[in-house]
Subunit: 485 residues, 2 copies
Amino acid sequence: MPSMDRRSLLLASAGMPLTLAAAATPAAAPAEPAPAPLPAPPVTEILARFVLETTSEAIPEAVRREATRSLLNWVGVAIGGSRHETLDVAVSALAPFAGPPQAGLLGRRERFDVMNSAFLNGVASHIFDYDDTHLKTIIHPAGPVAAAILALAELQPVGGRDFLTALVLGIETECRIGNAVYPNHYDAGWHITGTAGVFGAAAAAGRLMGLSHRQMVWALGLAASQPVGLRESFGSMNKSFNPGRAAANGLFAAILASKNFTSSDQMIEARRGWANTVSTKQDYAEITGGLGQRWEAALNTYKPFACGIVMHPAIDAAIQLRAEPGFAAGAIERIDLKVHPLVLELTGKTAPQAGLEGKFSIYHAVAAALIEGAAGEKQFSDRAVRDPAIVALRGKVQPVVDASIKAEQVDMTIRFADGRSLHKFIEHAIGSLEAPMSDQDLERKFADLADGVIPADQARRAIELCWGVDGLASAAAIARGGAVA
Amino acid sequence: MPSMDRRSLLLASAGMPLTLAAAATPAAAPAEPAPAPLPAPPVTEILARFVLETTSEAIPEAVRREATRSLLNWVGVAIGGSRHETLDVAVSALAPFAGPPQAGLLGRRERFDVMNSAFLNGVASHIFDYDDTHLKTIIHPAGPVAAAILALAELQPVGGRDFLTALVLGIETECRIGNAVYPNHYDAGWHITGTAGVFGAAAAAGRLMGLSHRQMVWALGLAASQPVGLRESFGSMNKSFNPGRAAANGLFAAILASKNFTSSDQMIEARRGWANTVSTKQDYAEITGGLGQRWEAALNTYKPFACGIVMHPAIDAAIQLRAEPGFAAGAIERIDLKVHPLVLELTGKTAPQAGLEGKFSIYHAVAAALIEGAAGEKQFSDRAVRDPAIVALRGKVQPVVDASIKAEQVDMTIRFADGRSLHKFIEHAIGSLEAPMSDQDLERKFADLADGVIPADQARRAIELCWGVDGLASAAAIARGGAVA
């Protein structure tokens, strides 16, 4: 075997735990630069302990409230996405292989085993890219975690209070791990929702399954072995695949660990572990700092509009001006916008032909918001971009880049044929941390997404179930309440 | 949202296909260095075409023969691992969630849906780290591919000839992708069998499922989204998890793609695709060069001994000397070995207490080989390392490092009490490309692994089924022949 070098020989060694070999023989991998001394704290152990030992009472009410809002938003977007072609394809592909009908699908009639159910609900919730966002990492936190534990709640008894606690701890786990490697990890090409999300799903599911500390460590290790998603998939069904598969993978990890399927005890922080392998940045203080004191789960945000955040200030302004006295869409002569440069860079399409293209058109978004008073999925449909009134009005939208306008701002002036005008300056667009969507806004968004999927009274009851999650005897009521009977 | 920088805003944009945005607006991600010009050939498309269009007849007989040997070796190690605690744990964990009993497990009685069956057979085959090795990349090629398509062969009609062709093309796909990123990818921390293996499984399964070209491209894209395994897991059950999960993930990808679940068309080579994300090296000529002419699948090797390759020359020498006239184990006074430095670095344990430790003891390995004439799993059991005769003899093994000895060599001299001695110099250890295991060696290995798991006559028939795969009316016969009825 003359072609085998020293490294190859080393690595080819059957049954050779490399870490053991490396520890015993520092010179074992001479072709590589010597690893730097490792000050990494045992974050896998620390997270396992945190996830298992944090009591419901130790989570501040404001954090629990934000997680409840996250849940409501997530159930809504999952119902909204449930009838999309993406779900139809996935359901028909997987049905022949699925296990017992243990858990339902939001917005649909089918029932699957918990792992397939988690996958499908996770996919559905990301199809419109309208789910929640942890702005520090661009993780969409609820999807992987909620999809996993909602399925689990149909398999075993899970009280609402425990469910909400697991949701908080799962979100906390994935966002803190995400913080530790962001932005390098994301810049490298990973879809961080799928790579960090699998930890959140494993943590939350593992807690509800009553894993021991050691088992939780292994669940996180098996989660680390299954990162999901590359940014290159954006624009295809593969994007929403990622949070769904993260949910299923996390559940798979917890289920195996619950029977003592072993992993490393330092899978996140070891020299050849997750953080070093998937990122050039590893800031473990992001994982351990203020654990149980400051809560990433409290920083979740929700999109009021079904499109890129860069257009949100203009849409916000349009909807507010539409509500002012004297507004008349038919009398508009022109709409002047001062916008941040990114708006025209990213959303400069003047004549979108399909709904998806509408998401990249500031002209369409403003016109649709002025005509229809909203910017949900319906306003980014094929129907909307071809609506004659919207098409006519989009030609009157005149955006100009203004260096003094920040990304979260817009300055809009609407001039009417009779010479009157309306003006609005947006400092922080609705949906930002500074101007969060109200509970009522979230309810309206939910109802809009559920419209046409489940009856309005069912949607209303599902909203109430989400608000009341903390007091539910069984969290499975939410799954049943959101499914089609 | 003052904390949001320009990048965050960009990335947070809902529904924003980043590639589209980047193509339309080169300045869209200004905080990053400009990406280098991309000369990457469309390797995802090229591989899809290769996998779909290569006929059985276009694969040279020698390559098909080597793949047949790979199959035989793989079925043997899967049967051998099938009763290990690792499999017991996984089977009991997954049974409550599994789908219809579509496919069996080698060496066991249970039947699962194809994805769980692929997972479990893939795990079983890697438990002893005794499976096949593509020495250029240290990929264990058969596991992910064979596990996926053997399960599939029980679900749909698959002729033996098509099965073998799919096995070749799957192995070719994973090894070429592995070549493109090795060694940087492996050095970073990835368990390359699990990360490249998922492509092999998707390719082979997709071919047998009759995917269209576009669907095959998507299957590879969905495979790219699901890499499995970190080197930190070595030494735990999580190591054998990796090829199993790669098999299941590849199958999952092909099944979804078969119903038109979409992905990117350039998932391997795109700027934010797989190769750039998981490796600092991307040598696409390794994928495209001589495709259909030179065959990585012909370079597969098999381990004659159930331990690290560094000890193989010494074991080879011991077994050969044991067969010489005048050999008498009881009369040995000392055994002198001149070895490559890695041997003592990696396998210097003088007094192993457990079977696994025996794999890191040149003293034990040589003594066991001299006493028992073999170095299979049985010789690395707890029983073997405590055997009084082996324990006594290992104290007489005297290895010294000799700079003139290459890693694939050993120089062994056995001195007996009566003053006689035997000497052997090994130039290329058995199992290397230069001294491959013979077909008979492979059969003996198979029978040894199957011993105690399935009856000897069943093992014999299973061996014949593997040798005759090319002519089988149904490849499912191999799955049935290796399972417990």
